[in-house]
Symmetry: D2
Subunit: 383 residues, 4 copies
């Protein structure tokens, strides 16, 4: 049995890996070791750990490593503590392969620890382009990883251009599309959204049209977080459509964003927005499938919404240069641009569906490759 240790450090990463986790667990030649760390363990960031457990996964180890401070120094230290803790975890678990996901700042702790301990490292979702601190981290992890599971042909090509052997790069599509595919086959919102998820603000009837907002801070622009979120808040208030709004995840800039939302709500009477802290991924997908438009800068707009054919207004630089379908209109942090884009989706043509991020079997492909690949932790640049 090959021991596959997956480290999940944040709520969004869980959606990106869930179907792969199932496929690993169910694979006859693989044993799943599941490590949950960082903000995925903390209630105020949405307790991803609860969803993981309620989905039936057994958590092998929990690693608390978030240093409070919500500044850049604390983010760096969180990474340092992550390495200290994960070293102990890997020494105890002795995995054959470690899997790290995407590009959040704390994921590099997983990558460095595995690399230094000579444990083969697999990276999910390398090779993408955005244009913030995540980009430094994402490509640095590519240079540390031994196997690359790319989510699109563009990402696959880019990983190769970064100097990695073609034979170590697989375009499996994104596991998050697997979930979107499942959700599409059963997309009724068959629960009371307010009872199940609480939240605060306006409440809407089931029959009403609605839009969804999810806007994260952009790490490198800490000071501007508050201004940026305020433009969106104004646009949504003026559009006066029924709106479900999701709080941002934790990051060096999340404090400015949260502050901006709180401050706007105190100063303005906002009657068309209901705010949620978080939602189970499947429920969130159903909510999207039945919505008129997604606004913000979430990667869900670029990935899942491409496959699902959901209209997206993508704000600012966070998803810059990622491969995308025809379902995305890009705008600046500007109230009017946001309003115009939303209106063009509400009143205009609807987008085509796209397979740019895969066809719904990424999880299975990843598990199969993890069972097959030659174990190695040594590589050299191709150039």
């Amino acid at each position: 049995m090959r021991k596959i240790c997956v480290v999940i450090t944040a709520r969004p990463s869980y959606s990106r890996i869930k179907t792969a986790l199932s496929a690993i667990r169910n694979h006859p030649r693989l044993e799943l070791q599941l490590v949950v760390a960082g903000s995925a363990l903390l209630e105020r960031y949405g307790s991803a750990v609860k969803y993981i457990e309620s989905d039936g996964f057994i958590i092998t180890e929990r690693v608390f490593n978030i240093l409070e401070g919500e500044n850049l120094t604390a983010a760096a230290k969180t990474t340092g503590i992550g390495i200290l803790e994960l070293s102990t975890v890997f020494e105890n678990l002795k995995p054959d392969i470690v899997v790290t996901i995407a590009d959040r700042f704390e994921t590099i702790a997983t990558a460095i620890t595995a690399s230094y301990m000579n444990i083969p490292l697999a990276h999910i979702q390398g090779g993408e382009v955005t244009g913030n601190i995540d980009e430094k981290v994402r490509h640095a992890i590519t240079k540390l990883a031994d196997y690359h599971f790319a989510a699109s042909a563009g990402a696959q090509k880019r990983i190769h251009l970064l100097g990695e052997e073609k034979s170590s790069i697989y375009n499996t599509g994104c596991p998050s599309i697997d979930l979107a595919s499942e959700a599409l086959s059963n997309s009724d919102i068959n629960f009371d959204i307010y009872q199940k998820y609480g939240g605060v603000g306006a409440k809407f009837k089931n029959s009403e049209d609605y839009i969804v907002v999810m806007q994260h801070p952009v790490t490198n622009e800490y000071q501007e977080s508050k201004c940026q979120i305020t433009e969106t808040l104004k646009a949504i208030q003026e559009l006066n459509l029924s709106t479900f709004w999701f709080w941002p995840n934790v990051d060096a800039g999340s404090f400015g964003t949260s502050k901006g939302i709180r401050s706007f709500r105190e100063k303005n009477e906002v009657n068309n927005i209901h705010f949620f802290k978080n939602m189970e991924p499947t429920d969130f997908l159903k909510l999207l499938i039945n919505s008129k438009c997604l606004i913000g800068n979430s990667s869900v707009g670029i990935r899942e919404c491409a496959y699902l054919g959901i209209p997206v207004v993508n704000i600012g630089s966070r998803q810059q240069r990622r491969d995308r379908g025809t379902n995305v209109i890009d705008v600046n942090y500007d109230k009017e641009e946001i309003k115009n884009a939303v209106n063009s989706w509400i009143y205009g043509d609807q987008p085509q569906k796209s397979l740019v991020y895969g066809g719904g079997d990424a999880g299975k492909q990843i598990a199969e490759k993890l069972a097959e690949v030659e174990l190695k932790f040594h590589k050299t640049i191709i150039y």
Copy 2:
């Protein structure tokens, strides 16, 4: 005044940066912040810190971060502690640019800390190719760094192929060549080598021909370290030439190497080797200039010896695929191959000098660029 914070974590890195340190310190628009960390602070790894101070540099901060254990887990943890400590240091010093050197495992702590704290990061000696754990680290640092000071045209090209903007890559040559150039202009060994550096083993007359050995462990081959060093020991014993041998630096595998040397000495009567722990870089260069051949896997053989035209027998994979002059014969961990190669240099033609690693002004070029470059910590891949 632009504050330039250079972090030195090991003895070999100091030689690679010394002339740049002088040039930064003497530059009218730069202020040098010098942080000494890791094994550079410890007596049993040669106390690089003493040489740094005796060269007249003022040390701004000392960071102790080596966790004892001499295994891979301890190496990972050392990196984690390094990040924790350097975060505090950078918060206090508030540098405008952080400079990290080369590719040893602990250097990535400097790179990650600076990146996460949004401090522009300069990397000395990226883009090279070797073929061990250092390679993962080196190219990962390239993906984190904002400015690249390459030591050769080949390295410069490779950094660009890794997806970095041409405008952020400078081929300055290697600062270690600056030292070699200085040493060449005054190469007499005008001191008593045994009195100044102690050491143990055989002693030779000044007039005798001699060779030099410096062989480091290769991290990824921990178990084999002892076998590898033993082949070299046997070759040197059988060659029966007067030999100066330098102990390896600290690494996950250094224990095996050290053990191999000790064990060989206990079991064999060795009459032609004198062992040193370390030597001031300038004295070491003089020793090389007057030697017949350098044997081992030190990068000095590839770089300084190219410029100086010194014959080198390079063993194993550690320097694999680095740009090199015509002064190097590559061999495997094989007693006979080593002996044959040494003999071919002793009795055959002598190599040409080469400028592949620069012409002796790298330090000044680096300082000038650090004073000129636009400050930035944000970048995106070119592909």
Copy 3:
């Protein structure tokens, strides 16, 4: 100039040391080094750091060491990180004496670091008795400390009984009494409490009688935190007096307490309580001076209220066995007991003032002693 390094790790500690800080800063032979750490830096625990700065103190170093998790393991790790960070701070600041305050779990990090680095250690408020985890910590710090500033004669005697030399123990009274003394001389609430401190819930007229509640979790009874707070909430609701209620500070059990309050508010219509997160110490003292009664388990009830002669209903074990004046009625976590005790203060005789915790010059006495004492970090038990 003798360098006195005071480490403040939490909001309550600041009130306990404020007048000593002023006296140290103003002393001709002392230099104040002020380190702010732990929850004192964090907004969600009341940002003590802002009050410290607005009081005109210059902060020498900030140390972020709170590891998120709100469980006992995270509390232990927070202490470990505290030691790592404070070691660096003390190495840089080279204080002549380090001052640590009271008994919160993170204060032992200060005590251990100073002890191990051979820096003389002064402890404020040792020798007291409560009956929770704080008690282990408090007396352990006494055994690490070289000078003891006790807040009462009872505490002074107890420190001596713990094996400390009489000559190293000073009964200065508590510096928090100094603040109470100042507040008493100018006790008008000359500001709009709702405008200045926000908060949520009912609002009262200035002229109305009111009571104050402040109840912290008790670390050793994590599971029971929610039940305990609920008894108090019910009592206060049934008493139906105008009430100002303060949120608890951070601790392994604070989550249960906060949850209890939130849950009670959601399920019950509460019309007689206004909730505050925190208040500047001076304003809080004015609020107390003008109140009818303080309910909860805050040490303010035991100390400041003794000097001020304010009636107190003290709930549970947290202040158990502390020296006290005649102003305290002790009750269990029991709705009826709480109600009866409050009513007996509202409708019965008022308490006498007491000097058990000093007469208002503790800060000056502490500074003077710090300037006078012989520097030493070596001691032996008296028995």
Copy 4:
């Protein structure tokens, strides 16, 4: 089954606990969890871990936490790292009781972690008096511990005077006496000491009389370590008796001591000393039993030698005020005093045996108590 987690951080602690480990392992109602940490894991401090394993104990977890630096700051940080690591260990092992041994600086990491995690804590060998940094640590641990296993009646009484309940203090004697008792019943040196332990220096015949030296640095007197050891070296050289000398253990001052020994050997021709790094405890006891005298400041001289009736010359303050038998002559760091004391033992009356540190069944008593005691982690001072 009650889970008993014993943390061993240094070689000397192992001798102090070995028979208790066996008794715990063999007890029908106890399960032994053995954690080996700190210098006990490291080859250059004598690899206690090898002896532990060769004695048949299974090591549950290994914790590397020694930060290199050999200065006081590194000692403090080692403790911080110890807490970080042990928190994870205890979270995984979920022990019912944690056992910490004696008073070395790193043992407080065990005590703090257990206390903060609400795990009942047992302390072996509290209540003793010496007069160095150990004393602060030892008594601080007493204030954190819930059960106290004292090694002598004097220690038992002192723990009570420190404010602990009599019912939580047991005078079991010292487990090291159990080993001395075993060794006495079979005390022949039936092995070739040079072959088994190597070492360097002079070699003596089996039939010769000899003395033994073991002198550790005294933490608080870092600078003087070298001078202190030199006095002993001179005395031993002039006495010109066959001498077995053991290297000091790791401590902030060990560098000075080691340097002193090396430097003396280089400058003087020393013909009567053989140096050992370490020895299995049983062999060491046999060596003592057959020796004429023990010189230095090891606690072995105070404890085991009391039971065994071996003459001791105890140098300096390290064992100051410990209970002792009549087998000890105390002297200062003074060549002449040392020589005179050794001569008075060699040529004078021999000491009586003493049961001051127990009668040889401490390990069994400790295991039995650990199986019986009520589990608790909450206590309050008796005063």
